[in-house]
Subunit: 352 residues, 3 copies
């Protein structure tokens, strides 16, 4: 664990493009923690104004906070244009990234003699590498992982325990996959014949590009033909499902339970909130953002922010859901209007 | 397997706070079964009136049934204030809980020399305990489980096959986790920089309190900082996702596909039906109940019963969904009202 | 890999009940591929008119296409009544089904001496078969699979890596389960006592009939009593949850994230799109189709096509979701109508 003075940390923030300056004593910090849990020697942060009270009560030695929020004058503060980005830098500098065990090429791993292993591997006992697997340098393969025949991994990949990579899948460099996720299993490829489902061999593959990180217990189908592809730099939460033949562009962010159906195509830098879904053969443009539980059932233009079922402009959907609880009352009002109108007409008939 | 006379079973019910009495012959039963599948010597139960017909046709030697439901007079019946609670007691008494294999400290388990193991362990071949792991007495660790560096388990924990506990996670006593579930993986912690996602090391942990039971293929993130916490006695179904830094109170019940986003806070004794979700940073009070597919997107008061998107009072939501199919017709009615009103106005204009 | 002339392939189509004929040169093909990726010697297909442009640009040696779609006259074409069924046959003939590794009875598998193994097994290192397990002939058990005490598998089953079969579960013949799926774990069976949840031993089992294929990371509860059952020929996508005591009929097709709650009953040949759900104790008739995200909360008649929350006729739901965005405007219109009507009444009052 490192130790840094606030002024030093601040200059690192500046090097990372953040505008930041110290207010108060130039203390030494060695760790980052939450406002509630932080102790002497730790630095915390305040990004969401909801937690100002916690910030005034924290035992942290310093707090990273944005302009315009006032904290007690005896506190040490790093005033920062983007506290969340600042805390990211602070965690990287003070804590660093997870260290993985160095298993080398463990004798209790099941490595096929025809597998090709790069330099400095860490392959755990209980990991399995099938025939013709090829993995790059410095890959970390935890226990219980299975890499199927002919699959290839680039350099610096990390497969956490119990990840399964089916045969002939392709992972780029620096791909990280969390426990229980599965890449390249057969999708729902069946031909319907007389109300039975005839299995179509799934002869395509799944391809995961560089710098992708995938959460726990996801499932990414192989394609029936061709490729299912996840673009470089894309990040997945947990329990995400990608159907066969779907393509996801680079730098996307998918939150838990997102589902992309077969042959759908998602552009780059698309953000899908929890439980959002895209139906089959639909195309989603670049830089689209979809709110929680959105169902995208037709093509969406680049740059849109969408919500609802089926997905429409988010602002419209928000107005709709605010109006929804008034619907039962409105039913009565419409009936009442019809009755009143009949009365008026009768009175008018009588008048004429 | 035990054998018990109905009168004996009845007195056990009474000891468990249930009001119960035998009607008909005092038969001996040795197992509990469904109305359909039960044979001679087995006892069944009738809780849902939907299944009265099945109860009259059952081959069971006796049926646990509540007041006010009449069955053929030649049947042996335990009349019980709460048949479902009764059947729970009967299953515990007649069948007991699952017996686990006694692997001891199996020589084919991968146990780091620095791991600390309590008394009477059952650690299967193919389980991995990393450095500085500490587990209490009588823990059962099935094959394919991985317990990462510095993680601790209390006494009497059961990890079914292929459970993964990431480094530094903390489990209390009597925690049971079903197959494929993952505790303590990194959440979606990235800082956005120039449309790229920069990984923030996730240095917090996941904490599971005493007597929690977790279904299959769940995923509980570690916190970015501080803790993700699941309170004592809480029970999860399958495929549940808990985001980083979320806290769930004690004695909750979450059904399959429930998702709690990062930094959300759920009170005690909260029941979330299948596919219900809570969005980030939202607070859910004690004793809240949410129906299936409810999306809780703002704070919910203790004791509420909510449904819908976004979550509102359940009674209101039910009226809304009943009204919904009338919406297209209402659109026409409103147009028609506008037309009629124009006509009336014109007639009135002519009259004046 | 096989090689076939188009006329030969065509006659195989005909043998499979498809009407098909060759147009253009009778070329030799050895593989099936997508329109985009296909090279010389490969055959592709065009089913969705959306991709006509890709078909005119493909490098494939031939394209399977239905009547009425015109492609450049120099292309070789198999004109086929059902191109998707045709491509299925072509993939089976040219590529065949996946070959599994032949592990025999691997010495690094953990096989209890009381387990019964059929002829020609392929049981991988790192697979575990507990006491009294019985598996039929030619089963393939990949690494990391666990088969619990007393569980039985029929002939020709395939368990991909890290599948878990709990004790006493029953699988028929030719059951295929993809990685990470779990069969027979305890469901949410608890009796509520003083705001605590008392565990009810789950003494029923899970039964999977012949020819079922299950995707990755699914979870199928055992029953509390009796059986949870999946009917013959049914196919599941990924991350599907089946609650305790639910029954699913034969020849169903469930897409990713489908959930069936406890004690629900689904008929035969039911198609549930992604994220569709059935609530507890509800009964779904044969040949029902439900759209994405449909929540079936009451019994559904055989042959229905349903959508929405709660599920209703799909045509009605489609009209409703088209009308929904007009709701906020309608609220204003109704208020305006009320105002106008008041004015008219006042004028009429003055007139009379």
């Amino acid at each position: 664990m490192n130790k840094l003075k606030l002024t030093k940390l601040c200059s690192i923030f500046n090097q990372n493009g953040l505008s930041a300056s110290v207010e108060g004593d130039d203390r030494v910090v060695h760790a980052v923690n939450t406002l509630q849990d932080a102790c002497e020697g730790e630095i915390s942060f305040l990004s969401n104004p909801k937690y100002v009270q916690a910030a005034t009560e924290t035992k942290a030695s310093a707090v990273i906070v944005k302009e315009g929020i006032n904290l007690p004058t005896d506190m040490s503060v790093i005033r920062c244009s983007d506290p969340y980005a600042g805390v990211a830098v602070a965690i990287i500098k003070l804590h660093g990234h997870r260290k993985h065990p160095a298993w080398g090429r463990n004798e209790n791993a099941q490595i096929d003699p025809r597998a090709q292993i790069g330099a400095d591997p860490s392959i755990a006992p209980g990991a399995t590498l099938a025939a013709d697997v090829s993995i790059g340098d410095r890959c970390v393969i935890y226990p219980g992982c299975f890499i199927g025949q002919g699959a290839t991994l680039g350099h610096d990949c990390v497969l956490f325990p119990n990840v399964v990579i089916y045969d002939h899948s392709v992972l780029g460099n620096r791909v990280t996959i969390h426990s229980g996720s599965v890449v390249g299993q057969d999708g729902l490829g069946y031909a319907p014949v007389d109300k039975k489902w005839i299995k179509i061999p799934q002869v395509g593959r799944a391809v995961i590009d560089d710098d992708v990180e995938i959460g726990a217990n996801c499932a990414i189908d192989r394609a029936t033909l061709g490729e299912t592809r996840i673009g470089a730099g894309t990040k997945f939460g947990n329990l995400i499902v990608i159907g066969h033949g779907a393509t996801v562009g680079p730098d996307c962010m998918f939150v838990g339970f997102v589902g992309i159906a077969g042959s759908a195509s998602v552009g780059k830098h698309v953000t899908l909130a929890g439980r959002a879904g895209v139906t089959g053969h639909v195309s989603v443009g670049d830089d689209v953002t979809a709110g929680t539980q959105t169902t995208i059932a037709s093509d969406i233009e680049a740059g849109s922010t969408v919500m609802g079922f089926p997905a429409g402009p988010a602002s419209q959907w928000r107005r709709t859901v605010v109006a929804l609880p008034k619907l039962p009352e409105m039913l009565k009002q419409v009936k009442d209007l019809q009755r009143q109108l009949r009365e008026l007409r009768e009175r008018l008939d009588a008048t004429e």
